[in-house]
Amino acid sequence: MNNKIKKILPQIITVLFVLGIFGFFTFNAQNNMDNRGIDFGFGFLTQESSFDVQFSLIEYSGSHSYARAYLVGLLNTLLVSFISIIFCTILGVIFGVARLSSNYLIRNSAAWYVEFFRNIPLLLQIFFWYYAALRALPVPEKAGPWFGVTYMTIKGYYIPSFIWTNLDIFLYSILAVIISIIIISTYAKKLQENEGKQIPVFFISLGLIFLLPALTFFIGGVSLDFEIPALKQLSKTSYVFDGGIGLPPELIALVLALSLYTSTFVAECVRAGIQGIGKGQKEAAASVGLTPNQILKLVVMPQALRIIIPPTTNQYLNLTKNSSLAAAIAYPDLVLVFAGTALMQTGKAIEIVSITMLTYLSISLAIAAIMNWYNKKIEIKEK
């Protein structure tokens, strides 16, 4: 009996404590909102937002609703995270491998790169790129072309845009490629497990990726045109680039800072993963007669990836959360558009901040759930 009380009493006290705090907050919030004449509710989401957003992936203007402004912000957050994740992975793998190089200079340059970018606060890096480095770029009329058709100016990076005809056929062909690669790789795996034969999956896939979409250009009537940005004079002194896609400098500064900063952490994950493979594994593989390529593909990589992927996903998650620093340089991400402008206009502090937090929370929890599932799947099953 005594034991039971010992177990239940602390739990009851904790629950009461937590409920008490929540109750206290709710009571105060109710009181405050009554006094200021604010009512709680999510009805404002359907109202007209009447503010403009500089950069948006979907069509948006002041006449759209707050819900659509939320979507614009979310898409911008996802866009900057997606681009940065790609770059930070490439840089991270290069520098992670370089840190294990036998070359003294390469090893130490990579180490200094990691130490340098890891130890400066991300916000300062974003400010540096945005306010100091990108401001040194030329004005539109003086910008020379990069790679012939793109222009890097103080107002942003202008790249040609694609104009497709029959885009859907092209997309179907890509879908077909993905499906056939999955089928081939499953078949190859089965073949190897049953008969020990190997087929060059990588080269077959590579061929498919180029061949099938290229076929649609000849047979399916798909064609691709480029709209190249061209200098246009607005008035005597002001020029802009017309046509093509203009990437705003905020986006460039964010992508630079986020990918350089996160790539140092990815590099450490990659290094730890490769170092985590015992020397004996490689020697054992070599002694059963595998070639160096086969050792890498069949023995080292599958084990290294098991160590690398979980912490790297964690870093991707951090990157996505860190992309909220966009608000500091006025890139219209979720925090700036929704928790900034929309909050100022509606004054619905509780609703808007909770929605913003819940959005980030659900992204994190979703990725964490996928990671747990993946870890369970690849974990070494010991008898």
Partner: protein, 423 residues
Amino acid sequence: MNSLNFLKSNKQNFYYFLYLGLFLFSISILDVAINAFLKINITSFLPGILSIFLPLILGFVGLNFIRTEYSGIKSLDIINKNINTNNFNAILTLLIIFAIIKATPPSLSWMIFDANISGDTKEACTGTGACWTYVKVWFRRFMYGMYPNDLHWRINLAFILVIALGFFGFFLRDNLKKYLALYYVIIYPIIAFLVIYYLISGGAFGLVWVETGAWGGLSLTFIVSFFCLIFCFPLGMVLALGRRSSLPMIRYISIGYIEFWRGVPLITVLFMSSVMFPMFLPEDFFMDKLVRVIIAITLFEGAYCAEVIRGGLQALPRGQYDAAKSLGMGYWKMHIFVILPQALKLVIPGICNTFLALVKDTPLIFVVGLAELAGMLALAKTNPKWLGFAMEGYIFAAIIFWIICYAMSKYSYNLEAKYKTER
């Protein structure tokens, strides 16, 4: 490959190849160095592309000549083993050396030779290099924010006192050592808080009151991260124990708390503290913005701290728990005297890393209008008298933060190495 054999040395002509290789290699370095430092292109008589790639080709051939398995010459073997193992490495080596040589003169002349530091106004900056005058003039603002100039000694004194009190524990007599944990977890934070409150805020003992809005610069970074650290540590400890508790309700509440704060970005937490939190307080109850921010960051970092401490608790072998239980210790006795002292020792490097992340996160308080170093830079950058020196300001701040963070990461790395060998 047999046809290329004449390119490789053998025992007879080894020294010819060695001298030729070293000669070519030094010529390539010399060419790049002259090009970078004196801006003279000695190979300008060659056609364009060849003139650019000539040092690379020469250096590559040179390195190829001196590459041997074993020469017996010590310094040559060290070079071959470390930077010249194969063709790919040789090219990368050359590219890195060239990049360093090329980058040295412009950065040195911008940072030092063409830079200005004299004078007190923008007009003193006449050179093409950096204008360190800007940093010199604004230095006090960057360090102390808008805090009145003649009262800066109060901030300095407060920091010296807090640091001195932090080292106080080392000089305790042996029979008082058992109270060390008590001192650091409870007494020290309280004393530090009182020192900082009464010295920096003033308002008592004849000191002039300075409102928190005037605090800023690097000292604010230190104040915020210091308080967040000492408060988030006990919070993290409680949550870590809660997460490992056998009582389901306590465990679920701890998990929910930890996962919630770890799932949201700090910037939304700060937004919450500045716009949402006042709504949750009683109507006539005013809480200073700085205090709200410190509470928000503490709650946030507490969750990360909890995960680090949980790692330490999990790393302890089960035998420790069993042994403590078999001696008849209860839950609290077991944790206070057996588990926590060992676990906390294990997690010191991890805590150090959390603190490092905390220091790197503090500039974010800029978004809710507190002017620590990044905020002061933004302020100075838009001052009409000092337009156009953003680069110098950010480089100055980056150097300061880099030194702090690098020292901390090295320290935590050393601690990690130290504790690893002890176990």
